[in-house]
Every structure is written in structure tokens, then in C-alpha cells.
Symmetry: C2
Subunit: 416 residues, 2 copies
């Protein structure tokens, strides 16, 4: 089967997560992606995860980080702060279709990698940039991890914070999730620009930020722009409304703890089609016709009472017992699964969310597959994530450098 | 300036959030998108948000929901369960480039809208589907809101739950955020397929699920596939590690409460470049050379002590006071912003995250802009979200139906 992006050449000057994920998606679909790393430090993502004592895990393959973001790519080391290094990079960019970076504006200026510079040498180039906070404004040059830019500043953390508890901790718990989503947005922009270029011949620039992508996802931010807040007496009242607690909303739309200390999430909305089956699943058929709860309006009026009943009922059985009862009655629900459970989930397995491939050094590995499935030009795994600088010589030879020149570059520390 | 998707025709049989967001992104870039709604009920997203008492808000424009997901589109009502209605839909699909749906597999079968059927009438059609749980497996036909499919089942909620508190509540607090991200993934797939079609003539099918997109974002799920857990004695120990609490990780990478009850998020990683400036920002220069904290190794050894010091220090000043101190020293941090603060954020404003447009009925409105910015073929807002069935006659006339036939369809309830 053909590869969707066969023949498309991508050069990325990126580190860590958002830029590399954009490039990895393109690589999954067949693009020839060259990840440019610093000859001294490499991409810090290679060794990011540490044990609580600061030491590295002794796992054979760092595939939760490096492998996850860099499969199907080649790695070349170049010191882009050095004029000769930049010359090599420019040669790569001259023959590339796409250049990707998550360097900040002041760095791009310093390294002479701004769009205006690169388009001179390759007018059809598609230039994709992802930053923390966008390329304009007071914080355009500020460093922006997804923790702060995608999660905290966008409104996500505020909305997910439970009353009386500290905010949730996206930094170390859902590490890079905001980067991955923003990388998806950048990949989407690149594909749009490739489509336009084939039709018009135009190269252009794509600008994505973690902050904007986070805000895009959040309907409550769109709400905050609207006139809806006029319905509230005060900002405090409005903010209380959008952060309502579990016992202040529909009891059919929240999470409950089970007998074995697990949690399950209900999403019975709109509720009427579910009400009868739900009472049956609970073994509480008496609730169905109870005038306090038998209609939507009655349930809204008596939602505190219903919430209390449901909290008590769910604590009488284990998650396993609830699973069959809720599934048998066709409820819209899910157990709140840990990552270990997710990777064993038969539904995820049935949809090839996890795929195996043979790693040349480490044998058979399993990774998360590309979430966008095309029937005729699907994503594939053709190569593992590269070793540090694994393709330096190969790529330099492709660019026409001689072995003598390559040796000289190494001596000068321009490549490793 | 040209529109990126000028001339691309999209037909969507969708409701609510994920499917409509995929189509809205395409519409932002210039595609002619026709949203097919049921002539009786319409898309329930039009009236989704209700007050705590169940009544509708009396705001003039439901733009946090309907407008956000449906700008730049046309609306036509068709009863697709009716043979004559399906004939109209088939005519639309025959001349379309893209068909989008978030109907479940059994519904697509019932309505004769499976890919195998539609490709007969339009071999070059790009067929994009988004489901809760994927199109195979035991739960393929189950309803799947983002609450359960993107958030709870993927591992997100588990990872964001704080010790001693109930799980965070994506259902009503970050409503549709998982849908929006999954819609972005589907739009990305459509653009890839459009690019392939222009080069090869191939139409094809795209399959995206909320579950898979959620898992894609979560590095800890990729971790759970790896051999890393061999470093832990037990699953419980491993799960404790990935859900470490605030006081169990680097004190430079967590959130702190301020004097005025606000929270701020630090992300000083890698920490060494920040340590000196951070001590200065705190007004605690004595910490910098304190042997307990002066090196990375020492800080790891004494992280509980450092955490306690920082908790106490941050409670001595307000968020406003911390803002200037942390900004002046170049720290990687963010206030944990509420939606109201987000829409006033000067950085978001400087990057046109919010755009104004003139609504024909309601005057000047402000909405969240498309997060993927192309320099030469940018997203635009050309039309407000359509009224229910606003373009029914217009589209039927384009398809060649006469006014007499349209009147007949209305009498039979096939269109509204």
C-alpha cells in the first residue's frame, strides 16, 4: 500500500514534545523526516524521565518518551549556532518540503531561521512553528511548557480543580499531553499547506501555539466571551456555575465511588432515554416511578436527594459488578481507567490502538499507534526512533559532502 | 487572499461536538460545509446549555455551543430515515468531496450510509468517521461522549485525580474539550486524504475515535506498554509513581497557593538555569547557596524541605505581586487562569486568539479563532452559524429540485 506522504521531505529543528510529535505524525504517514539535534546535548527528551531519586530508569528502550515522539525519523547532529553548521542546515532546507521548529522567536532570529530568511532559499517551503504562547505579545519569547501554556494559562487547570483540593497536576501526570495535541494541530496545518501548495504552488508559514490550542478546546472560554454571564449576578456566581461540584449538577452526569474504592463516570445525557434502564441497572426499579425522580423536571428539583441515593447505591457493589449491570442495560458510562488498564482494554485492542513492531536492537516492542486511520494510505511503522546522530553521515553524504569534509566537521564539533 | 479549501464540498451527518468541530475547521479554511440536521429535533447542540433549574439561558446567541461549532456552515434539514430523504442526501454526497459523520456503526448501517455504499455513488469521496470507542470491538456501537471515551476510559481522569478528592469532572466543566481535540484529528485526516486524492485520484475512509485520540495524547499510557514497570516492585508502586502528589515530585514543577487564595503553576525544568533567578524572585537569596538546595542532587534529596519552604513563601504574597517577580526573573510559570481571565489575557489578545465578526442579527460578536494559522490562506469567518434549516431551500434548488418538489417534501415531513 502506498504511503500518503511518500516523497515529502521534512526537516525539524525541535526538542522535546510538540514539534517532534507534529513531525512524527507526518513520518507515520511516510514523510522522510530528519530530526536535527545538538551535537553536544541531543534532544533532552531522550533521557527525560527519571526515578524519584533523579537516576535514569534502566529500561532498555525509552519508548514512552523518545520512541513515542521520534519513530520513523532519521537523526542528524548539527551545531546550528556555528556558521558551517548552519550552512549544512540550509542545504537540508533547500531541498525540503517542510521545515518545523518549536524554537522561540528570539532564537529563530539568532540562528537565522526565520521564515523570511528560509523562503529566500526555498520559496515553496512550508514553514511550521509551534510556540508556547504565540509569536506576538509580551510573552512571545517566554519558554512555554505544556504545563503552563496549554494547561494552566488556557483555563484547563482552573476548570479541572476540585473544591478543597490542590489543582490537578498536568506537569508530571499527563506529561506532554498538551504538546501532543498542539503537535496534532501543527501537523494539520502542514497538511493543509501541502494541499494548497500542490494546487497553487504557494509555500507559506504556519503558526500554532500551545495556549491557542488549549483555548480552542475549551468551550467555557468561548462562553466567557458571550453574553451568557449577564444571566449571573456576579463574576463569582458565574465562576461557581462553571466549576459546579459533583453534587450541584445532574447526578446522571458525574462520577461515583464503588465498593472497592474505584470510580466510574456516568454520562447519561440527554437522560430520558436512559432513566428506565438505569434504575434497572441499579436494582432500584422503585426509583423509576418515584414522583421525585420520574421526570427530568422532577429530577432537577430533587437532584441532591438523587445524588445521595446514587452515592450510597454505587458503594454497595464493586466495579466489576457494576460493569456488567451498566453494560447490560446500555448505559453511557466508563470505568475511570488507569494506564495499565487502558493498555489491557479489549476495546482499545480491538481497534489496534496498540501496535507491535520489531525493533532491530530490542526485539518486539509495543507502542501507541497513529490515532488517524486512513484505509488506503495508512500510517505505518517502518523504523524505530533513531539513535543519537545515527544518520549524520548518511544525510551528509546525500547532501553531497565527502567523507573528508565530514571528518573535518567532526573535528570542529559541528557534527557529532 | 485565497481560501485554502475553496471549492471543496463537505456534507456532515453529525450532531453535537466532535464531528461538527472537524467540519467547522474545514469550513474556517473555506470549504462549503452543509450540516444535515433532523427536521424534527435539529442538532441538540443548539440548545444544550441549561441553567441549574433546567431552563435555557436567555442570551441572544448560543455561541459557546452552536456558534462555536457551526460558523461558516450552511444548514439543511433532511429526515434520513425516510427513503426520499436519503435520496436527497445521496444527491448531496454524489457531488461532495468529503462526507463526515459521528453516527455509530449500527446507525450507519440502518441509514445506508456506510462507506461501501457511498463509494459506489462517488468513488473519489473522502469519508471521515469519528466514534466514541472505534468501529471494532465489543463497544463499537456504544454511545460515547467525550466524558467517558476521551477522558475516563483513556486514563486522563485517573491521572488528573488528586489524592483524597473525587475525580475531576470533564463532563460539565471542560465540556466537549475531548470532542474538539478528536475533531481536530478527524480534520487532519481529511486534509491528508485530500492531499493524497489530488496526487493519486484515490478516495478513502478515515477512522478516528475519542478513545484513541485520548490515548494518543497520554505518554503515561505509552509508558504502561513499556518495560519501565519492571523497575517497580508492584503495580501499586508503579501507579503511585505515575500519580505522585505535589509533595512527592520536584518542588519546582508544581502549583502553589498565593496569599489571596489563587494558584500558580511552576514548570522550572530543567531546573538549573532557573535556580538562581527563582531564589531572587522569591526574595530568598539565602536558598541559592544553601547546601541543602544548591545543586540538583541536593534538591532531590531535600525536596520535602524545599516544598514546605516554597508553600510558606508563596502564601506571603498575592498573585499580582508574584506575577511581576516571576516575570522579571524570566521564570517558566503561569497563573492558573479562569476562563474570564483567559479572554482578557493580553498575550492571547496579541495573538488574535479571539476575533470579532459582525453577526447579521446580533451585531458584533467575539469568538475563539481557528488555532492553526496559515500566512497566505488563513482561516476566515464569512458566515455565522446557520439558523435551523436556514439553507434547506437554497441547497435543494442547487440540487435541481423545483419549488413544487420542495413543497411536497415539506408536506411529507422529509424537510422542515
Amino acid at each position: 500500500m502506498a504511503l500518503a506522504l511518500e516523497g515529502i521531505r521534512v526537516v525539524e529543528v525541535t526538542t522535546m514534545a510538540a514539534g517532534p510529535m507534529a513531525a512524527r505524525l507526518l513520518a507515520d504517514w511516510g514523510a522522510d523526516v530528519i530530526h536535527v539535534e545538538h551535537p553536544g546535548t541531543g534532544d533532552p527528551w531522550r533521557t527525560w524521565l527519571k526515578k524519584p531519586d533523579g537516576s535514569l530508569f534502566d529500561n532498555e528502550v525509552n519508548y514512552h518518551y523518545w520512541e513515542n515522539h521520534n519513530r520513523n525519523k532519521r537523526s542528524i547532529t548539527i551545531d546550528i549556532a556555528h556558521d558551517k553548521g548552519r550552512e549544512i542546515l540550509y542545504k537540508l532546507i533547500e531541498r525540503a518540503d517542510v521545515f518545523l521548529t518549536n524554537r522561540r522567536p528570539y532564537e529563530l532570529k539568532r540562528f537565522k531561521l526565520e521564515y523570511e530568511t528560509l523562503r529566500q532559499m526555498n520559496p515553496k517551503l512550508i514553514y511550521g512553528s509551534v510556540t508556547g504562547f504565540g509569536r506576538n505579545g509580551p510573552d512571545s519569547d517566554a519558554p512555554g511548557h505544556d504545563t503552563v501554556a496549554f494547561w494552566a494559562r488556557s483555563g484547563f487547570v482552573y476548570l479541572l480543580q476540585q473544591h478543597g483540593a490542590p489543582p490537578p497536576s498536568p506537569g508530571y501526570r499527563t506529561v506532554a499531553a498538551g504538546d501532543n495535541v498542539s503537535g496534532l494541530a501543527l501537523a494539520c496545518g502542514v497538511l493543509l499547506a501541502l494541499f494548497v501548495r500542490d494546487r497553487t504552488g504557494l509555500g507559506q508559514e504556519i503558526d500554532v501555539s500551545l495556549l491557542h490550542t488549549g483555548i480552542f478546546a475549551l468551550v467555557p472560554v468561548a462562553m466567557a466571551l458571550s453574553t451568557i454571564d449577564k444571566s449571573f449576578v456576579s463574576t463569582a456566581e458565574y465562576e461557581k456555575f462553571i466549576r459546579r461540584e459533583r453534587d450541584e449538577v445532574s447526578p446522571l452526569f458525574v462520577s461515583y465511588e464503588t465498593k472497592d474504592g474505584r470510580w466510574l463516570q456516568l454520562s447519561l445525557a440527554p437522560p430520558d432515554p436512559y432513566w428506565s434502564g438505569f434504575c434497572k441497572a441499579l436494582g432500584k426499579q422503585d426509583l423509576e416511578g418515584d414522583p421525585r425522580f420520574s421526570t427530568l423536571e422532577a429530577r432537577i428539583q430533587n437532584q441532591s436527594a438523587l445524588f445521595q441515593i446514587l452515592e450510597d447505591v454505587f458503594r454497595t457493589k464493586t466495579l466489576v459488578e457494576w460493569r456488567s449491570r451498566l453494560n447490560d442495560t446500555g448505559m453511557l458510562w466508563s470505568p475511570i481507567q488507569s494506564p495499565k488498564e487502558v493498555v489491557a482494554d479489549p476495546q482499545a485492542r480491538a481497534n489496534d490502538v496498540f501496535v507491535r513492531f520489531d525493533h532491530p536492537s530490542f526485539g518486539r516492542l509495543e507502542v501507541v499507534s497513529n490515532p488517524i486511520k486512513l484505509s488506503k494510505t495508512p500510517a505505518t511503522i517502518r523504523m524505530p526512533a533513531p539513535e543519537f546522530g545515527q544518520h549524520t553521515e548518511e544525510v551528509l553524504l546525500e547532501l553531497g559532502y565527502t567523507w573528508e569534509e565530514i571528518g573535518q566537521f567532526k573535528q570542529e564539533g559541528i557534527v557529532a
